[in-house]
Chain length 363, copies 4
């Protein structure tokens, strides 16, 4: 069935909405009571996903202003569903005629028709990247909750094409969210060279989750890394996922790949290295959780493409309008949101719904 | 909560059991009625996962003979839960004293203690690779069901260390399940060189699912590739997952990465290439579904390792007993099983539970 | 955890919203594509639940006008989530001071405080009967879907206090939704006599679901009657549930209670009687499904009541404002909605999500 | 789909098995680690459900001896799935020919055929009352867990036919589990009079759950009473469910039905009466939770009955073999089991999976 619009078992996020309908949004069910929450907590996250931020993003001005419809009373969450609505704006009454009957390569046009019998062809409908705005709003709530427990989630661009960051520089701010100035400049040139031809680029996003206590996650099907994989692979355009050393671990040997346990000097235990990426046997080990995902180049390119129409006739297609020549920078906050939702879900399974579960809550 | 022992929404597999308890097994809930099924359908799958097959697998003779306890009547599934039990045998009353209090690097010992407060230290307990025997039994049922719909699932070793197969040779049979004779011989040498030092190797498994009709999967959180990622990343030792070109797509451009649609010559539509790996927007597109996963080197190595005990005291640990120097060959069928379960689950969501849903069923 | 705001496995309804927040509504995930749907389909259902219809309902004019935010394109459902929003209006800036600290007898004030640590005291918050507006909107969609399959759902007032209908008269229309004119008149007098004292009445609602094919439901935990019980008992103020002869069956004997099978004269099979209420072993048998529920008298009475405040001090409480002296008439459509949602959920499990699943759909 | 063999969200019970297969049992996923558990904890519960206890139960000697296959190590639960197996014995190679093609009135024969296309006709297959043995085993685990929190669950026969107990006498022990000696004697005579004619009786079971803290349950779809209704209505032969005053509340007035809050003399709050049955707005209020269910008379009667065969031909059927003339006494422990499972599930949602969650656990 189509019923795959919810994520999580304890902190459950359900999204709705299409690119060109009345609006989109989410319901968060299971957020504990007593968390201070307002629209201001959501805005910085929405802002990072917003188009029109740089030369590398579409200029559609979505002006995504979320409205919290329920679940907050006197500035605190009540424990009941938090519903967030984002109205669609700037929907130009543009002519979608040229893609109505034609399947865009790299898009979900064909598969939607096969699954549902027809599709909302305006801007991709439900498969539009715009759907992620609802995830980001929910992720902002999850991140706020996690921050009360000393857990932080931070994603950034690891590479664009084959240009990777060398060292993470927290002071470097740029429109590719690529925390290494030299790499940023190279990446910018690389993208520009593709844009000139009407082509597009891909890249890799890395996400580091710090402060997660040891003991979160399950040992079998719901391993914490399996849930993170599910979460991150559910973002459109993501084609690969890794935790810790990921695929490189397959090139290593047991001796080199094993993280040796050592005393942490404070009576506890830590790992000397973190090849595992913070998860052992599906359960957090107290180290930073480190994940990565590979993002494909934007499918909507400004080049003439061969394709077919719904009747199987060969066509030539030129996608007009402006599209991000690289999705990676705007997807950074989406990865962060999905990671935050996943960790919040595991955390509440661990702590239960007790009102004391939010440190400093309900005072 | 610990309740993460089930997978799927329609074809639901729940596993139980530890390495050294009375036994392990599974319940499959949601398998349609009318499928011909017997233990003989399970045995070839169990056999491939079985230890003691080659120089690269432990000699523990598990003799995994599954018993179908329910859900089959007069050789056909009844539509009610299929329960499968595999008794544990060959449990040497070995002394686990040396690992009872000590955390093995690369294992879940520490994280189990942190999550549950204590652990079953015999052979890894629930985090033992032996848990996958139950998945393989369930996967055999899923594969049988899929075969009625013309869907096949086939996994194999893609690489060991940095030695990869060149071309898939279906006639090549070897104990590494590596379908390229030359690569196999190199990989064997590579593993032997590590074994000599007491070290271990990793590798990559690839899985191809053919015959899946276009239209399976959901567009948002339960994208078919996200579910496959969840399924495969839930296998112990797997550190990365890819669909289609995976991480390499991030190095490509939109023009090169887009799969152009063309007429299939039979009135239908096909893709000229398959960079996407058979899934577009989370929904199957009718091409082969191609996934890969990266497997870390066996954590149990025959070398002296530094570690700590549960009180944080430094220890030296030598893991005795025989362990697979590479997990990849035995994990091949586990990947196949998890992929089959995932596709069966999506298929039943699509067809419903109607008795006509199995082609040729109930005759 | 608090995460209990969703109902169903295939046709999944998630509601949000409080009595006095910005609004309330629902997401329906899993409605098949191709169903013709517009706000006009919802209005007759909303209207029946609306207050201010008669002398027995509050005069708060909610003017519940639902907005469909997503999931419908060119008048047809797309298979993606249908989100419905109902804005709250007529929220008098009334002084809730007298119930802010005091627990109303028969209400959820105390239990919300115990569960969540505090509560939204305005009009009952999430435990307000107003929450059912979202269920009714979802139920209208379910009913529309069922009607395509020839399934109808019809609820009515069976009794008020000890006054019961004798025979169902489909032509009788009245503000108690009690289809027997004589019983209606007696019930009206009974309620008036209670209203005079500031007291309130309860009653029984019956619901008949016709046209359900034999074979829906599951044999064990998710028996169709168990799901209907869950659905109907989740409506506030409902204290009992029955299927078929219900509790009276416990007074009968096997011979009298068994429904004998007979030929239906058309080559099929029917039951001579329907003591079972259309469900045998948890699975529909093709007869009418008949369920009933007992509704308690309105807890908000216009009489001075003893109670305590949140510090445990004795208080006297007089609830002001107008409240329905009997909830039954407005709950009739809520029972109908929950029944429709439950049957739609079972139906889609049976038919799958295929586009052909809606008879006459996608033409 | 058929996948309705699991119950619960946190303490998840999945059952399998038929009357005449190799065996039946369950997996409990989500039981916290550290609970002392052995087969001895299960036996008293199994014993109460066992046939052959009295003149009113079948003489089939099932000798239900459960085996714990997993999840327990050194006498304590490990937090991983607890699997319990009960082998079928005493399966007479009896001739089921007379019911193979014929539909027994009041049984699930017809509906299984309609749903699954065929059925396991031996002893009712999955719809056999024997399936409840697995529930009782799981319920025993739940009850043990609850007892650590000071919560007790106690069910008994409230009435047989129209003979009800007057006052609960805890010292009265009899084979009808009817705690009022005088009522027991009358009920025995009533049943005997029916048995003489080959007929059967029904009755009502009441269950009292004491010690539940205020604050368990959810306010909307997963109200604690809705979950209890789901749980209890999922037991075969149960046709009605009530909480507190149940249907009688519909005859009362608001003034009489409201439970007034008063100080409990210890600084807390209690209710003066308990018409609500311990649940307000779906959440436990700290009082005893009181539920009841109506059980129909045994469908298998020793009288000639009219029916049809699968081809719709009229038949006469005489069911042979011995059947319980009243199901109520053996169903008492099943109701207790389902109630315990439901409360355990809600409790773990509240406390989380932390090892401290079992008072005195992990010492």
């Amino acid at each position: 069935m189509a019923a795959g619009s919810s994520f999580g078992k304890n902190f459950i996020v359900t999204t709705f909405g299409e690119s060109h309908g009345a609006g989109l949004g989410c319901i968060i069910d299971g957020c504990p009571a007593g968390l201070y929450l307002s629209v201001e907590d959501l805005l910085p996250y929405m802002e990072r996903r917003r188009p029109g931020q740089s030369e590398f993003t579409t200029s559609r001005n979505e002006g995504d202003y979320p409205e919290i419809l329920s679940g907050v009373f006197e500035d605190k969450t009540t424990g009941t569903p938090i519903s967030i609505l984002i109205r669609n704006k700037d929907q130009r009454s543009k002519d979608y005629g040229n893609i109505k009957e034609v399947y865009r390569p790299g898009h979900a046009d064909l598969t939607f028709d096969k699954k549902f019998g027809f599709r909302d062809y305006r801007g991709g409908g439900r498969s539009s990247g715009r759907e992620t705005a609802a995830r980001v709003a929910a992720g902002a709530v999850a991140a706020k909750l996690l921050s009360c427990f000393g857990i932080s989630v931070r994603a950034y661009t690891k590479s664009i094409g084959d240009i990777s960051i060398e060292i993470y520089d927290e002071n470097e701010k740029n429109d590719l969210y690529m925390p290494d100035h030299e790499a940023y400049e190279k990446a910018r040139e690389y993208i520009r060279s593709l844009v000139e031809k009407g082509d597009s680029a891909g890249g890799v996003i890395e996400c580091v989750i710090s402060g997660v206590p040891a003991g979160l996650g399950d040992p079998v099907f719901d391993k914490l890394d399996a849930l993170l994989a599910h979460a991150v692979m559910s973002i459109g355009a993501v084609k690969g996922f890794e935790v810790g050393d990921g695929f490189d671990a397959s090139l290593s040997s047991g001796q080199r790949n094993n993280d040796v346990f050592i005393p942490d000097g404070k009576g506890g235990i830590k790992k000397e290295t973190n090849h595992a990426g913070g998860i052992l046997g599906g359960i957090s080990d107290g180290s930073d959780i480190v994940i990565r995902c590979g993002v494909k180049p934007t499918a909507s390119i400004a080049m003439l493409q061969k394709t077919v129409d719904k009747n199987g006739n060969e066509k030539e297609l030129l996608i007009t309008g402006r599209h991000d020549p690289v999705i990676v920078p705007r997807a950074v906050v989406v990865v962060e949101a999905m990671a935050a939702i996943t960790i919040a879900d595991a955390l509440i399974g661990h702590t239960g719904d007790r009102i004391e579960s939010i440190p400093g809550g309900i005072s």
